[in-house]
């Protein structure tokens, strides 16, 4: 080994020590930043995420479910109207879409499609920041203070149930006066994803969702799987018995998404 090499060894050693010192302090700074990032962001005003109490596990009192009787639905679209009004849904957007369908025998019927609140929800899996979350009662909600607008959930949803605020939604005074919460997510926010939330703010008060009360044909039933009861606001039915007797089915059952919305066939005896 030449002199130059051994000199280099010495200087390498010194360099290594200096490098380690710098590295340690960098790791320290990074660690501290991570620990306090929540606080820092709060201070600089980034942290507009509501308290996490909503997500905390609590003994679920309910197990919400919806049943739509396609034989009763006449496609008037009043459910969508009631829903839009209730949630100040931005123009051009619909939480409930009413499809016109033709079966293989040429019979036409209508199919309202809210969010299915799947028990094995594809949208929930893919969210990179946990903005979409499931409550204990099975309702899937979106935290619009956290959503980054990547729209992966929209790509993943097999039911086209999600919509996006592509532009700043036009606001109304009544909408702006309301205090945002994921259960009642208005004022609506640009660059975030929206969908039906099973009227979580209404069911919390013991009321039926807006689409159920808004349907003139009384085709939409809402209820609690645990109580085995569903209601359209006029009558109360046994859930399991109704589904069995009326041949209840779910959309894209074969995908294994386990939707919470059931349909009763448009034509049955």
């Amino acid at each position: 080994m030449t002199d130059v090499d051994s000199d280099l060894e010495v200087s390498y050693d010194r360099t290594r020590r200096r490098f380690l010192r710098v590295l340690t302090s960098l790791v320290g700074v990074a660690g501290a930043t991570t620990l306090f990032s929540g606080k820092i962001l709060e201070v600089v005003g980034f942290h507009d995420v509501p308290s996490s109490d909503l997500r905390l596990a609590s003994p679920a009192k309910h197990d919400w479910i919806m049943v739509i009787d396609l034989a009763k639905c006449d496609g008037c679209g009043k459910c969508t109207e009631a829903c839009n009004e209730e949630h100040f849904v931005p123009p051009g957007m619909e939480y409930i879409k009413v499809y016109s369908v033709e079966d293989e025998f040429g019979h036409r019927y209508f199919m309202p499609r809210p969010c299915m609140h799947c028990d094995n929800a594809p949208c929930l899996k893919v969210c990179p920041v946990g903005a979409t979350f499931r409550r204990d009662d099975g309702v899937i909600l979106i935290d619009h203070g956290r959503c980054i607008g990547c729209r992966y959930c929209m790509a993943a949803c097999p039911y086209d149930a999600r919509s996006f605020n592509w532009a700043e939604p036009p606001h109304t005074e009544a909408e702006l006066a309301h205090e945002y919460s994921p259960e009642a997510p208005w004022p609506h926010r640009i660059g975030t994803v929206e969908k039906c939330m099973f009227c979580a703010h209404e069911t919390a008060k013991g009321e039926l969702p807006a689409c159920v009360t808004g349907c003139p044909m009384k085709a939409i039933y809402f209820g609690d799987r645990r109580e085995d009861a569903i209601s359209n606001g006029e009558e109360i039915l046994r859930l399991a018995e109704t589904l069995r007797r009326e041949h209840g089915f779910r959309l894209k059952e074969e995908m294994g998404t386990e939707p919470r919305v059931w349909y009763l066939p448009a034509r049955r005896d």
Binding site: M93, R113, P128, A131, Y152, A156, P158, D160
Partner: protein
């Protein structure tokens, strides 16, 4: 080993010494395209993604296609450099630097697209605050960040000896000589330095290969993990990786042709280099044809109702021209051109066709699956807006701009590796393949 004191070939240092007016014109043109893209993005920032052609049903489009395309291009560096280094393919020496730098530029440009596509770029930090490892987007985030760090290191390490040469032999201003001094880290070419450098490069070459494969695999899994028709396919990982290497080789062939001509590198980059890379391009082309056939034939033969609608959109619907164009002019025609590989122009023409086809391929993976209706019975609509096209043009210009600037600051051919290769070839002992042929 090329000692820092030995005079390097002036041809290789010429781009660093002098700059013609043509270069400034090029920079001005590329720079203004980039500026136009920035202007378009500022529109999008102000008015939201409504400036794009995207809508609730086709919610990913050109931006995500560009993301997949550029991350694909970035595989050029890994393949040429790492795999050829590991397998001791001697002919790689003059083109490793070009390849490795493509990787870094392409990752930077590609990784920008998911951010451009975000509805709320102001909330990007949420990825760190609330990141969920269950989401494929997080897999991508981690994988691409690792790949960028690894590629930077892998570009930098073999450049250290060259930086010492540049520092001694090119007269530069204060700032640049400071840069070379800092980056050169006191390289003098002693035995101990040489040993540790060789060791680090060898290690990085091995580490970077699985990282690169993971990158395009998890990019494909963003799509593959959903239940969407046309995306939910197990072939996606290898299909994307093969496509990435395919487009990467095509890009490096184009870069080689341009640099060879502009910087007069005919002595270093010869027809043999084009022929060898062309052969690799041909192999990847055949693999792509095979994968494409497997993917579409499986769907068509089984003909599940959703698959049939998707295939109609692709094969006879709004994207038929693009699809068949890609197959004919982008996969089959290049294969024919690459069989004989007689002239550089023949090979480069094939490479250009391949790159265009691979952009289409990315677009045809992202968009038609979203155009295929899931709930209704009419095709969804999407036509990209001027904002999307402007930002896309800016990305290509930005990529070229970064590359052109890089070649002005750093030698585009690894001088010490080339001269070391020449030394080894002069010695009779280790059997070397490829340098003659």
């Amino acid at each position: 080993m090329l000692d820092a004191e030995v005079r390097a070939d002036p041809v290789l240092l010429e781009p660093l010494r002098t700059t013609s007016w043509k270069f400034y014109v090029l920079i001005a043109i590329l720079g203004s395209v980039v500026a136009w893209g920035v202007y378009a993005y500022s529109w999008q920032l102000r008015t939201g993604l409504s400036m794009t052609g995207l809508n609730d049903r086709v919610s990913w489009g050109v931006y995500i296609s560009n993301f997949v395309f550029f991350i694909g291009i970035s595989h050029a560096g890994t393949l040429i450099s790492a795999i050829l280094r590991v397998t001791h393919a001697e002919w790689r020496r003059p083109i490793t630097r070009m390849a490795e730098s493509i990787t870094v530029m392409a990752i930077i440009v590609g990784a920008a697209f998911p951010l451009i596509d975000l509805g709320r770029p102001d909330r990007l930090l949420n990825i760190f605050l609330y990141g969920r490892l269950e989401s494929a987007i997080l897999w991508d985030f981690i994988s691409i960040a690792t790949y960028l760090a690894g590629s930077l290191l892998y570009l930098y390490l073999p450049m250290i000896p060259d930086l010492a040469i540049v520092r001694r032999q090119v007269l530069t201003g204060r700032l640049r000589s400071f840069l070379y001094r800092r980056l050169g880290r006191g390289w003098t070419g002693t035995a101990i330095q040489k040993r540790s450098l060789e060791k680090s490069i060898g290690m990085m070459a091995i580490i970077i290969i699985p990282v690169a494969i993971s990158v395009h695999t998890v990019v494909s899994w963003i799509f593959g993990m959903t239940l969407r028709v046309g995306w939910h396919s197990a072939i996606f990982g290898p299909y994307f990786v093969a496509g990435a290497i395919f487009s990467g080789i095509a890009t490096i062939l184009i870069a080689m042709a341009i640099f060879r001509r502009v910087y007069h590198l005919e002595k270093y980059i010869t027809l043999q280099h084009f022929r060898k890379l062309g052969a690799l391009l041909l192999v990847l082309d055949l693999i792509m044809i095979y994968f494409t056939l497997s993917e579409y034939l499986t769907a068509a033969y089984g003909s599940e109702s959703q698959d049939v609608i998707w295939l109609q959109v692709l094969l006879e619907g709004p994207y038929a021209l693009m699809f068949w164009g890609m197959i004919g002019a982008g996969f089959i025609l290049p294969a024919i051109l690459l069989v004989s590989r007689r002239s550089i122009w023949q090979i480069v023409t094939a490479a250009v066709l391949v790159d265009v086809a691979m952009w289409m391929e990315r677009f045809l993976i992202v968009v038609p699956s979203m155009v295929t209706p899931q709930m209704t019975f009419s095709w969804n609509q999407y036509s990209p807006s001027w904002v999307e096209w402007s930002i896309t043009a800016a990305a290509f210009a930005g990529f070229a701009l970064l590359y052109a600037l890089f070649s002005k600051f750093f030698p585009i051919i690894s001088m010490w590796e080339v001269s070391e290769g020449a030394l080894e070839a002069a010695e009779p002992e280790p059997a070397i393949e490829g340098t003659t042929a």
